[in-house]
């Protein structure tokens, strides 16, 4: 993966992202290795995303690397009307690797074509966010010991949730069974279902969250946003139906883990946080190890 950009989860093969997960395990055991001391990483956030930026910067800092960049477009030359092409070409002169987040879809792919250093896409509009996908795979493998033969439920906004789309597509490389729980208006798009069908895997759709809890291994929760509904009355009807409460987990499998890309609003009640099924904060921490592994392998160190 040396010198190769990661823009979309499809850019890497199954073997390549399993390799990243293996390296991430090494970093989890020892996250403070001074292996990036001679490297400068640029974090260009054309739109703010504090959580993702801090995760990347923590990953770099713990490995002794230097970070340059900006935290939103308002504080950069972009505000003065500089093109993305010029910003990327310039920053590529100052850094060994560029991590970028941008509100426009396709911006990271374009950047990877004009940049002389590799690009890691930290989110391009509603399109891709591959490091989120990698850390989710890592979290699933870590809690279940495998990625094959699992029953995985995705809950909430399955129509617009890019995280759900990338995760489903990545998981079709493994022999998983999918359970999709959403209001009718926010079902998984057929373009994503096509990937499941191509691999001859099974998927089921539900509107009731309680139905899947007894038999799934992973419960992946996502937020439902009011603005996604054409009819506000529909939102009012469903808004409480996709909230996970501690008392709903009474009859779940012993290995069930609850994941969430964070930040949450109210879709997981705080009374779940201290239960053994809650894994979302650990999941966020795994993001640091996975990003360390990704940067180290792109820079040719691991």
């Amino acid at each position: 993966m040396k010198n190769r950009s990661l823009v979309s989860i499809n850019d890497y093969s199954k073997e390549e992202y399993l390799k990243i997960l293996d390296i991430a395990e090494e970093f989890e055991k020892n996250p403070k290795q001074k292996i990036l001391e001679n490297f400068v990483i640029a974090t260009l956030f054309f739109e703010p995303s504090t959580r993702t930026r801090l995760s990347f910067e923590s990953a770099v800092n713990q490995l002794g690397g230097k970070v340059i960049g900006f935290t939103d477009a308002a504080s950069s030359s972009v505000k003065k009307g500089e093109s993305l092409r010029d910003t990327i070409k310039t920053v590529a002169n100052y850094s060994d690797l560029i991590v970028m987040r941008h509100p426009l879809e396709g911006s990271a792919r374009f950047a990877s074509e004009v940049s002389s250093v590799p690009i890691i896409n930290a989110g391009d509009g509603a399109n891709q966010h591959p490091t989120q996908c990698l850390l989710d795979l890592y979290s699933i493998r870590k809690t279940q010991g495998k990625l094959d033969n699992l029953h995985i439920a995705f809950v909430g906004d399955l129509k617009y949730g890019r995280t759900v789309h990338s995760n489903v597509i990545a998981l079709t490389n493994f022999n998983c069974t999918f359970h999709f729980v959403s209001p009718g208006e926010l079902k998984l798009p057929s373009a994503v279902k096509r990937h499941i069908k191509e691999r001859n895997l099974e998927y089921y759709q539900y509107t009731d969250l309680n139905e899947v809890i007894p038999f799934v291994d992973i419960l992946y929760m996502t937020r439902i946003q009011r603005e996604r509904f054409s009819d506000p009355v529909e939102y009012e009807k469903v808004k409480n139906a996709y909230i996970l409460n501690g008392n709903m987990l009474g009859n779940c499998k012993p290995n069930l883990k609850v994941l969430h890309p964070l930040p949450r609003v109210n879709e997981i009640n705080e009374n779940v946080d201290d239960m053994k099924e809650a894994y979302y904060f650990q999941q966020a921490r795994n993001g640091v190890y996975v990003r360390q592994a990704l940067m180290a392998s792109i820079l040719g160190i691991k």
Binding site: L104, E105, G106, S107, G125, A126, A191
Partner: protein, 155 residues
């Protein structure tokens, strides 16, 4: 009937050197003309729509004098008129007659339908892969969204 047929053959045979684009879906003839910028072309051009076709019921045809299309232009024709046949004529003789082929990749001349796509904001030439040749669905190389033939806007 007889006179109609004669007139049709006259048009076809009138070309000494040039190219006939035959079997264009009738409703797409003007689209092809516009897309190839034939409307600003100085050479003699003849075209017809709603002509009788054994294969398709009705068809359109465009004939351009002293013009031999390049690969890039043929790809454009294939995108809006995938049923078209290209007939190359030299000295009143048919030199070549072959159906156009829908390319795997479509470059530069169609706009991405996604308003939030980088190609609609920066000076980035569009690029698509053809994911469905029958329904003519193009996937954007940049934003990964699909643009279908109903939504084609030519750049």
């Amino acid at each position: 009937m007889e006179s109609k047929k004669t007139r049709k053959e006259l048009i076809v045979s009138a070309l000494e050197n040039g190219t006939v684009i035959d079997h264009i879906p009738s409703k797409n003839v003007f689209q092809v003309i516009k897309m190839l910028n034939l409307d600003s072309f100085d050479n003699q051009i003849l075209f017809g729509t709603n002509l009788d076709s054994r294969r398709y019921g009705k068809k359109g045809i465009i004939k351009v004098k002293n013009k031999f299309f390049e690969k890039e232009e043929i790809n454009k024709i294939a995108i809006v008129a995938p049923t078209a046949t290209l007939i190359v004529i030299k000295d009143f003789e048919i030199i070549e007659k072959k159906p156009v082929e829908v390319p795997e990749v479509v470059d530069k001349f169609i706009k991405c339908i996604n308003p939030n796509c980088i190609t609609n904001h920066e000076n980035v030439p569009t690029k698509f892969s053809v994911i469905d040749k029958d329904a003519m669905k193009l996937q954007c190389h940049y934003c990964e969204k699909t643009t279908s033939k109903e939504n084609f806007i030519f750049i």
